[in-house]
Structures are given as structure tokens and as C-alpha cells.
Symmetry: C2
């Protein structure tokens, strides 16, 4: 519809949204129609639908990260920066059109872990874990590696819970992450604490 951006950008945008909303099973005809791009153009911009799946997911990754991570201008303690990821997720999951983490959803639908889209999903999941890890190191956590993975697991568990529409939905991610951080001795003070 918008003819402003290049065909490639329009396609990536429409694909990112429709693959998420309707699943990767949606047809390329519908995709191209939504993007205002012909199939001919699509197939000379992307080798196949599978490649479009991967590229559109990759193109949305950075914005997805920015939506979740507090920026570097946020100079609160690392613990708060971690918890704010779950606060943001809670806010996203509360919206009626939330269908889970797009990375996990895509990987679930693709089944094949070697599909280029699955590789992208794995990459961005690792990025989230890396973010947690950096913050945990800043906070002086004892075992930042394990804890970062555990936080990622909570993130995806909350996402799954939102998908199945289990009640209640709100706030449980933040609480669980906080409980885990508390247990590991990561307190608001940002200092390497007692525990262990």
C-alpha cells in the first residue's frame, strides 16, 4: 500500500507482520498483495519463501531487541535493567494481538532447526541471553552464565503462557525473574553480594 519505501522494505515489513500474525504457512500471494509488490519482484529479491522467512525475521530482530532492552541511556542498576525486560514483555503480552515471542513461534512452526529461519531465531535468543549475561556480570552475579539462561527460560515460559492464554497473565514474569535474582543474591545495590 505505502509506495514510499523500496519494494524490498515493504516486503520485509509485510512478511514480518503476516508471518507472525498468521504463521509461516501464509501464501506468498497474500504477502505480496499486502506489500504492494508483485510476485515477480519478490522472487528476484529473494530466492524462495524460506529465505524471505529468515530475512524478514532477521530484519525485525534489532527493533525487537530495542523494544525489550533498556537502552544505554538507562543507567539504573543492572538488576532493574534486567527486570525491565520482563516488565516490557508483560506489557506486550497484555495486548490482544500478542502471539508469543516471534523467534520461538517461528522456530516452533518451522520444526526444522536447520531452516534458515530457525537459525535466525536461535541467534536472537542467544542475543537475549547475552544481554542478561552482560547485566549479570555488571551486577557481580556468582554464576552469570547459568542465571542468564534461566532468565531466558523464564522469558520464553511467560511467552508460552501468553500464547495458551492461561490465567492470570500479568506480572508473573517480573516476579519470577526477581525471585531468581534474589535467590542468586543479585540485589538492587548492584554489588556482588552474600549468598552462595
Amino acid at each position: 500500500m505505502t509506495t514510499s519505501a523500496t519494494p524490498r522494505e515493504r516486503l520485509l515489513d509485510a512478511a514480518g507482520e503476516l508471518f507472525y500474525r498468521d504463521g509461516v504457512g501464509i501464501g506468498v500471494d497474500a504477502l505480496c498483495k499486502a506489500a504492494g509488490v508483485s510476485k515477480k519482484s519478490m522472487y528476484q529479491l529473494f530466492r524462495s519463501k524460506d529465505e524471505l522467512i529468515a530475512e524478514s525475521l532477521a530484519s525485525r530482530g534489532p527493533a525487537y531487541q530495542r523494544m525489550l532492552h533498556p537502552g544505554s541511556e538507562d543507567d539504573r542498576p543492572a538488576r532493574d535493567r534486567i527486570l525491565s525486560v520482563f516488565e516490557r514483555q508483560d506489557r506486550m503480552a497484555a495486548e490482544s494481538n500478542y502471539l508469543g515471542c516471534p523467534m520461538v513461534s517461528t522456530a516452533v512452526e518451522l520444526k526444522n532447526p536447520e531452516h534458515p529461519g530457525s537459525v535466525v531465531a536461535r541467534h536472537f535468543k542467544q542475543q537475549l541471553t547475552d544481554y542478561f549475561h552482560r547485566e549479570l556480570v555488571k551486577a557481580g552475579a556468582d554464576d552469570p552464565g547459568t542465571l542468564a539462561i534461566q532468565l531466558t527460560i523464564i522469558f520464553d515460559g511467560v511467552s508460552a503462557r501468553a500464547v495458551v492464554r492461561a490465567q492470570p497473565l500479568g506480572g508473573v514474569g517480573v516476579a519470577t525473574a526477581a525471585a531468581l535474582l534474589d535467590a542468586a543474591g543479585v540485589r538492587s545495590g548492584e554489588l556482588a553480594t552474600q549468598a552462595r
Copy 2:
């Protein structure tokens, strides 16, 4: 291909496996072929493919539960019974054909939370939470409701992690659940403990 069971059972079995392995997008032709049942029979046993999705998921639910929950003959402390759910999940997730919790995967693929299959998935997710809740009450946990939800979240987070094939895969579910139980004061002694 076994012609022993009734067409209905053969269909439910094949559907349960193929919907899980290939996704709910698989065609009814392939389903019927695998079950050794004609489409005519299928459509007089089930109103639609959507109904078959829901019924096959529902038919596999009990066995899925038995695979995860320790039976009543297991008289270990409640804490151990809870942790053994995650041990069993770890064992399942280690197999190469593991594609995540079938309930969550189906809900993710269906997108529509009112789809009969999504309703079944939600039901069995609640059943897992209820199991945790019963055990936590036995263990005298302070806030069994919240903790049961948190354990379910960990379960689904571990499942998602296995789907995206993030490394490392093993043992992290048990460790995370144990950390949460420890933090809540649910110790092996099965007694309502200190904390809070």
C-alpha cells in the same frame, strides 16, 4: 498401518504423531494414508480437520501427563516429585525428535486461542499447573498458587529452549525449578518451613 485398532484409534494415533512432527499444516491425505483409513471414514468420524486436531491432542493428553508426573506409587517428598517432572522433561528434550511441548506447539501454530485445539492445550497446561499446586500444598509452600504458575513457566521455557536448540540443553530445568523451590522455602523435608 496396524489394522488391529479401530479406524478411530488409528486415526487419532497417526494424527497425534504427525501433527506434532510436521505441524498442523499437514494434509488430511497424508494423515489418512499413515493411519490406513480412507478420507471418507475420517470425515464421518470427525466433523473437520480442526476437530481432529483437538481430539487427537486430547487423546494424547493423559499419556503425556503420565509420562511427566510421577505416579501415586512414588511416595518421595513433594519437592522430589516436582523436580522429577523436570528430570523427565530433560530426558524427553534430549531426544533428537523432541519438538517442544505438544500443547504449546499446537497453540502456537493455531494462533487462534478459541480454536478447539487451543482449548485442549490450555486445559492440559492448567492440569500441569494443578499438579504442581497439589504437590506444593503437600509441601506446605507459602504461596502454592504463584509458585505452581512459576514452575509451569519454567517448564514451557525449557521446552522453548529445546525447540530453538539453544546450547546447553541439559539439566537447566531441574536447576531452575530447584532454585525457585529453595527460594520459597520448599525443602526436601516436606514441611512448611521458615522463609518470608
